[in-house]
Symmetry: C2
Subunit: 215 residues, 2 copies
């Protein structure tokens, strides 16, 4: 198996796919990108479910056919085989701090945003959690999600007051997840960071100047 | 800094702390263990909040004072400095598969168990999500959590019908998270795997024979 023989199943509108696209752009990696049409529910097709039984995007498929789902797992593979321009940290301590902060950005920002969206959207009735099992929407999660996003904005602004990037001095996957969460909350929930969040504004301008911003 | 000068803040009854204790036992690592008394709400003390502002256990503290929270981040640090007996995978492909399966065990088994517990326990009113922010309990999450745990049992039994361990041929952190989730659902929700789950039973017996089982 050639470890660089890869393809990515993904969707332009998927925030999780965007987390991988920004990673690829930062590393300068290119590979075949295979679109999965979420609007047409293509992720539920037999063909796609055979690739990813969770029926979600993105999925990285290796040359031997192994399918890697879950964004942090895809990042881990790519960082191993493309170690240049590390985005998961360089030293053991940095790797741990990046893992910690990326996870916090996901759990405190990305996940509540997705939860508020999925429990409100009429088109997602009966599919409040991504994956193969059907779960009913719970309206109380919409309001709780919005409150959590507001807490996330306040906490992130406080964090960025003391450091250039989320995990410290270097751009990392923690910045990617925070940025994708912010953008999706602004777009899908009409919840941008508040006007007074000056540290978020400074950081956001800095990362938006990077070539990966349009990925 | 001596990278092996470490201490762990943890609690005997915490499932997240147990994920780290089993990891340490599997690796044969020992370090000072500093108890945090969750029953006395010690995690909310100023002293502990200064170590981990999220006010949760466990926290790994390095020799230079750096505090690493979040179980996968703690594992990442330990695997980097103690690479023998790998629990996060050996090759790039194994590392990615372990990351994928560990995450799925957490999101599909561990998280719904915790959610069902935290949204029901009278002592956790106003603290339905671990961390510094207060969120009200949502009763509908208790029933949904129980349904998700039942789905988890069925899915895990199907997975283990085709492989010895969760991520494939080797014991890994994916087994640790699955096992801690199963045990906690059985204990705190009275939801053990169903009698017919023979593949879970075979796997559970195998991992319970390991010396780390009492950690």
């Amino acid at each position: 198996m050639n470890p660089h023989d890869l393809k990515l199943y993904q969707s332009a509108g998927s925030p999780n796919a965007r987390r991988v696209r920004i990673f690829l752009a930062e590393k300068g990696i290119s590979m075949p990108m295979i679109p999965v049409d979420l609007g047409a529910k293509e992720q539920f097709s037999d063909a796609y479910a055979a690739i990813n039984p969770r029926k979600v995007v993105p999925t990285l498929v290796l040359g031997d056919g192994t399918a890697i789902g879950e964004v942090p797992a895809i990042w881990r593979y790519l960082e191993e085989i493309y170690p240049e321009k590390p985005l998961l940290g360089s030293t053991p301590k940095e790797k741990a701090l990046v893992a910690m902060w990326e996870r916090r950005m996901e759990q405190e920002g990305f996940a509540p945003t997705m939860e508020a969206v999925r429990n409100a959207a009429p088109g997602l009735a009966g599919r409040a959690i991504a994956g193969p099992h059907g779960y009913d929407q719970i309206p109380a999660l919409v309001e709780r999600g919005r409150k959590r996003v507001a807490d996330f904005h306040a906490d992130l602004d406080g964090l960025l007051a003391g450091r250039p990037f989320v995990a410290g001095d270097a751009f990392s996957v923690a910045d990617i997840t925070a940025r994708v969460a912010l953008d999706f909350a602004a777009k899908a929930l009409d919840l941008p960071p508040p006007d007074g969040a000056g540290s978020i504004a400074r950081w956001y301008a800095a990362i938006s100047a990077r070539p990966s911003t349009d990925a």
